[in-house]
């Protein structure tokens, strides 16, 4: 708690805006050709309002499934998910999922893509200016008329972030949004994501398999086991922002996470 004081100013503002998340005993399985494939096994953890929680785990362990349940795109086989105390029964623009691929609509201009959430809720007429604001925020104000195929990978993912932010979400559900970017773009985007979070006060739940990314961004890291995923550990990352990759404490944490994932001896 001592280290938390360093980020105290943002945290206190965030707590009255971001969404609280309570995942209770959530299990999930898929039915594949008549067979049951368990993917999540009694997952429980809480996310405080305004917190940035990263979920780490081996690939294919069910991290993305967990996020889809939180976003309300699928219903869990058992257990409950509470968003601000209310059970999640479907998708809602207050908790928006950002996908690994930008998945912009290729038939819409960047501006129209970003305006998506306002359009679905009938707010486009009254809040047009919001679209321009967030485009400026992510540095795409010169590309409003461009079509997605004219954007680079980083720009497309920034447009996808803008599309989420235009709704003033109280929680962002991030499914490896930087996973397919080249390493330089990725480092730049980690910084941008962090400053967006610190400025906009939303709660963030990030799935990633990049340990460094999790440690640089998150206030807490949840480590999952292989499929079916169980919670291995929860680590508080009490380091002030902006963090540095070679911070001793982070390097130690990284070693700990690698051991939790069964990769301790390789480093």
């Amino acid at each position: 708690m001592v280290a938390l004081a360093a980020i105290e100013p943002e945290m206190s503002v965030q707590s009255d805006y971001g969404m609280a998340l309570d995942i209770r005993e959530v299990s999930h399985h898929f039915d594949l050709h008549g067979e049951t494939l368990p993917v999540l096994d009694r997952i429980s953890f809480r996310v405080r309002p305004g917190e940035f929680v990263a979920v780490l785990g081996p690939s294919g362990c069910g991290k993305s499934t967990l996020l889809r349940l939180v976003a309300g795109l699928d219903r869990p086989s058992s257990g409950t998910i509470l968003a601000d105390g209310e059970p999640v029964v479907g998708p809602d623009p207050s908790r928006i999922m950002v996908f690994q691929d930008p998945t912009l609509y290729p038939w819409r201009s960047v501006w129209k893509n970003v305006a998506l959430g306002l359009e679905t809720r009938g707010l486009l007429k009254t809040r047009k200016g919001r679209v321009d604001d967030v485009l400026r925020l992510v540095g795409l104000d010169g590309f409003t008329k461009a079509f997605p195929h004219q954007l680079s990978g980083g720009m497309a993912q920034r447009a996808a972030l803008a599309r989420a932010l235009v709704n003033d979400p109280r929680m962002l559900v991030l499914d490896e949004p930087l996973g397919k970017l080249d390493s330089l773009t990725r480092i730049a985007m980690q910084g941008e994501l962090l400053s967006l979070w610190r400025r906009s006060r939303f709660t963030a739940l990030l799935v990633t398999h990049d340990i460094e990314e999790a440690l640089l961004l998150a206030t807490r890291v949840v480590v999952l086991s292989g499929r079916p995923a169980r919670i291995r550990a929860e680590l508080e990352i009490d380091r002030p922002y902006p963090r540095h990759r070679d911070d001793r404490a982070l390097v130690e944490q990284r070693q700990k996470v690698l051991e939790l994932l069964g990769l301790g001896s390789t480093w």
Partner: protein, 334 residues
């Protein structure tokens, strides 16, 4: 082969870009060719009676004059000039074809008559029979538009329904599979019996021919939409109506246009067949009527008009697509 042609065209244009407008060899040859065709037409006596030999010669000379005008005017400085320049090799070859055609038919009488008629005969059909041709274009167009629009709208709605709704898929899919492959013209005896007029019967057949490919392609377009597109819309608060109208349909539009292209092509075939039976005007009827009178000049004229009509309609469709699907990368240009 096609590369060689492209090379030839590029070679022709490359040769005169840099050096002060250069000498347009192809253009000069084309002008000479068209004047030669005019000369042959007018100076070499016909072996049989033809009405419009002087008019044809004037028209061919007219093409030559236009070529000379373009040749002298700095053809790269205005739009028409650039188009003529680009079409140069084609114009040259067409001039030679007219020359040879003239010689082989009217002048030497080598090709069997009346099927291989002289170009004057086709000209005569246009000059003497244009009111009837125009009337036939009007009737064909009216029937075609009524049938194609009906078929496209119904096919599109059916395709969206089958692609989107499980219930519509359950009932619609077997019908589409069972009826779809049957050529629309096979319904002709039934259509004539069921529908009160030959116009509505023909319209039904054209609508059927257009609607089937539109329905199938729309359905496949809607069914193949990347499911993440729906997830994105849902997480941003979209309802089902939005998913259909603003996600599924726009995503399926490239498929829909393939269906429209196929449907429109099929509709031409059905139009001709439908007009061969029981109508009193229309291009299909005109072809049969001309053939009945052994007026092969008129028949060829009808075919030319039909080619112009069909290719214009297809071009219009592609224009519409280019406009609507401007977002697509690497569109095929018609």
């Amino acid at each position: 082969m096609s590369e060689a042609v492209a090379d030839g065209v590029q070679g022709a244009s490359a040769s005169d870009t840099p050096s002060a407008a250069g000498f347009w060899t192809v253009g000069a040859l084309a002008a000479v060719g068209w004047f030669a065709a005019a000369g042959v037409t007018v100076a070499w006596p016909d072996v049989y009676d033809l009405d419009y030999t002087p008019l044809l010669a004037w028209l061919q000379a007219g093409v030559g004059v236009i070529l000379v005008a373009v040749f002298l005017s700095g053809r790269r400085s205005w739009r028409f000039g650039r188009r003529i320049h680009y079409a140069g090799p084609w114009i040259l070859v067409l001039g030679l074809v007219f020359l040879a055609w003239q010689a082989l038919t009217a002048k030497l009488g080598l090709l069997p008559r009346p099927f291989f008629c002289a170009p004057q005969k086709i000209l005569a059909a246009f000059v003497d029979d244009w009111p009837r041709i125009l009337e036939c274009v009007y009737y064909s167009l009216r029937l075609l538009v009524a049938g194609v629009v009906t078929g496209a709208v119904l096919g599109f709605a059916t395709g969206v329904a089958i692609g989107w709704s499980r219930l519509a898929h359950y009932w619609g899919h077997p019908l589409l599979r069972f009826i779809g492959p049957v050529p629309a013209t096979a319904w002709l005896p039934i259509a004539i019996f069921v529908f009160p007029t030959s116009f509505t019967a023909s319209m039904f057949l054209i609508a059927l021919a257009t609607g089937m490919p539109v329905a199938v392609l729309t359905w496949s377009g809607v069914a193949s939409v990347n499911s993440v597109y729906y997830d994105v819309a849902r997480t941003h608060g979209a309802n089902d109506r939005f998913l259909v109208l603003k996600v599924a349909i726009p995503a399926a539009m490239p498929h829909v246009f393939v269906g429209l292209f196929m449907g429109l092509s099929f509709s031409f075939a059905v139009l001709v067949v439908a007009e061969l039976l029981g109508v009193k005007a229309g291009l299909g009827w005109y072809l049969q009527w001309a053939q009945g009178w052994a007026a092969y000049g008129n028949m060829w004229a009808g075919l030319i008009v039909m080619a112009i009509l069909c290719s214009t309609l297809i071009t219009l469709l592609f224009r519409g697509r280019d406009r609507l699907l401007a977002w697509q990368k690497g569109l095929l240009r018609w």
